[in-house]
Symmetry: C2
Subunit: 377 residues, 2 copies
């Protein structure tokens, strides 16, 4: 199996792009990655996208994007895994290089959510839950995470301690030019915001935005290397899970990834976790093994996830403040980890970072990718 | 790069499954493949599906299907490439094994079209075309292929010669227990049927049906081996193509596949081509290199694609008569090729077959997979 290295990254600021289409966004991120990698010798393409069929009436985005980046002819594969599409597509791109099938892969993710009404976004998102027993009830994604949030509140933390996950993500987004919400947010503002799905406040949820991010992968061991790439799943319905606060998919993916990279959580220098709702960021910190059960909200509250904390987390603002363009999100995470490991994170830099981990989830944790990157020494 | 072998296949009869859901179909095919492979040691899953978001309100089918086959926890990836989803998912599954990431992959495809109105199926299908310049016009998939059909008629063949593609596929479906339309159809019936999109008659189009097919892939060189697996793309819009009757994506995929397998078209003993419309089957025969430009309709008419012909094609009825459940179609083709190479094709057997090729297209040829399998000697 060949080692895989990240040759280039590119992404656009997450915002509401009223004057551009989904293809425009993808092209911009792809060309930036090409510039960054200083190569045009791309020999295959992976496209991560979640809701194009529902938001742009567009399927077959592999071929579409190969064409618009000027590379019609290339092999192209669209991967969809809900909001884990980006991380899972990266995993497939890693295999393409590791296997020898490709020598230079562009993996790009895109989602354009501002074109459609919020209810279309919401109904698209809940389609990542099993339809016949869960989604058909009319529950929302926030509603499902609210069940976990309530369970956690009963056992481990106060509302404000969980809400601090959002506050800290906003702290990290300040000055981030690609973040959708690059401003501080107080815990009072979060706690005073309306309920999205009781007990989740609106300001504990990631928002709706448009974005695209891309990475270029090649064989090799120079620069930023992929030391582990893993995907795992969990029971889709919360009622099928023995212990809903234990995200089995996250845990399985992480355990396999640590084994593959031959590291332990304490070796990881920075982390991107899937904080689409505050509770999911909290549970991810625990299921990834960075803190004991029931302790993550306190870790966050006590600045343990700050850039100079025990485990620097969501260093550009995470899903909450950098933004969460669904199919592209996992690739933003991986691009950010790459910048950190290259020492190119500017004001967001985590000092002396060698290992970075990105965790991307779909459904309510029914699918999870964990990728561990290692910086050049 | 490890060699990859097909350990097992499973599929259900294509029909209108009013009393079962999309998960039921997938499970049945998957369990049949598991039985056939005599192993339950599956370590990862690929799911091919095209229109679940539109026809079942279901995204995230990787995790959903891992769960319903009783394997929550496994890595799972949904691949979508229009009606080439099956072939492209197979390609990704091959890389998973070749790379060493997986030792036993289940790749399954499913599509359930009978649940929804035909106009929903049609609008889903045309979403595999580029939306902003092509699909938005209201053209149908048949309408786009009709342009190619008309061009071919002007230069190379009569309507009946092209229509023979459908007649011959029906001949091959007779006695096939998993075929949706296992009966003979005369050329008169095809030519007398109403126009679907002039000059394409209704009886030259594949129909609407539900199906699921699965294969199990492992490392090794025993039994049926994957000698080449390639995906290529073409300009999505017909107006961007220099020569619309030359399917560049098909040609590129085929050329790379022949090189990878170190064979020429004359070494191939049987063929599954993507005859969703008669003209696409005809053009595929040419672009794959089995017959010169403009000669395929005559080859078909003169029985060159019969089971004892020059190049036995669509030996269980092809998309036209076996059926075309979109995301599952490419995996039906590969399962059928496997049966042939094992000598288990019964009345459909092509004698002494060593090499089989399956070609699966999405869009109007904007994406194409070519997989070449070799039988045990």
């Amino acid at each position: 199996m060949r080692k895989v290295t990240v040759k280039g990254v590119g992404f656009i600021p997450i915002s509401e792009c009223w004057e551009r289409g989904v293809k425009d966004l993808f092209v911009e991120a792809a060309l930036k990655a090409v510039d960054d990698a200083e190569t045009e010798e791309i020999d295959s393409l992976y496209v991560a996208n979640m809701g194009g069929a529902l938001m742009q009436d567009q399927l077959n985005m592999g071929a579409i994007m190969a064409d618009v980046i000027g590379k019609a002819g290339l092999p192209a594969t669209r991967v969809e895994a809900g909001s884990a599409s980006g991380g899972v597509a990266f995993h497939e791109a890693v295999k393409a290089v590791a296997s020898g099938y490709s020598d230079c892969v562009l993996v790009g993710g895109v989602e354009k959510m501002s074109d459609v009404l919020p209810e279309v976004v919401n109904s698209s998102m809940v389609m990542t839950e099993e339809q016949e027993y869960t989604a058909y009830t009319g529950v929302t994604k926030a509603g499902l995470s609210a069940l976990l949030h309530r369970l956690y509140l009963e056992q481990y933390a106060t509302p404000a301690e969980i809400g601090m996950m959002a506050v800290k993500s906003h702290d990290h987004a300040v000055g981030c030019r690609h973040a959708q919400y690059p401003f501080r947010m107080s815990i009072e503002r979060a706690m005073d915001s309306p309920m999205e799905a009781d007990p989740i406040h609106m300001m504990e949820c990631s928002g709706i935005g448009d974005g695209a991010a891309a990475l270029i992968l090649c064989p090799g061991e120079d620069g930023v290397v992929v030391d582990a790439s893993v995907v795992a799943t969990d029971h889709c319905s919360l009622t099928d899970r023995e212990d809903p606060l234990n995200l089995m998919g996250v845990k399985k993916a992480a355990e396999r990834a640590y084994r593959m990279a031959q590291v332990k959580p304490s070796d990881i220098d920075l982390l991107e976790v899937h904080d689409d709702f505050t509770i999911n960021g909290i549970l991810s910190l625990e299921s990834l093994g960075f803190v004991d059960r029931g302790k993550a909200a306190k870790l966050v509250t006590n600045d343990g996830t700050a850039r100079d904390g025990i485990i620097p987390t969501n260093t550009f603002g995470g899903l909450k403040a950098r933004g969460n363009p669904l199919g592209a999100t996992g690739l933003y995470q991986l691009a950010e980890v790459t910048l950190q490991l290259r020492g190119e994170a500017g004001d967001h830099q985590v000092q002396d970072a060698e290992y970075g981990l990105a965790q991307n989830m779909g459904g309510t944790g029914s699918i999870c990718s964990v990728n561990i990157l290692r910086g050049g020494s």
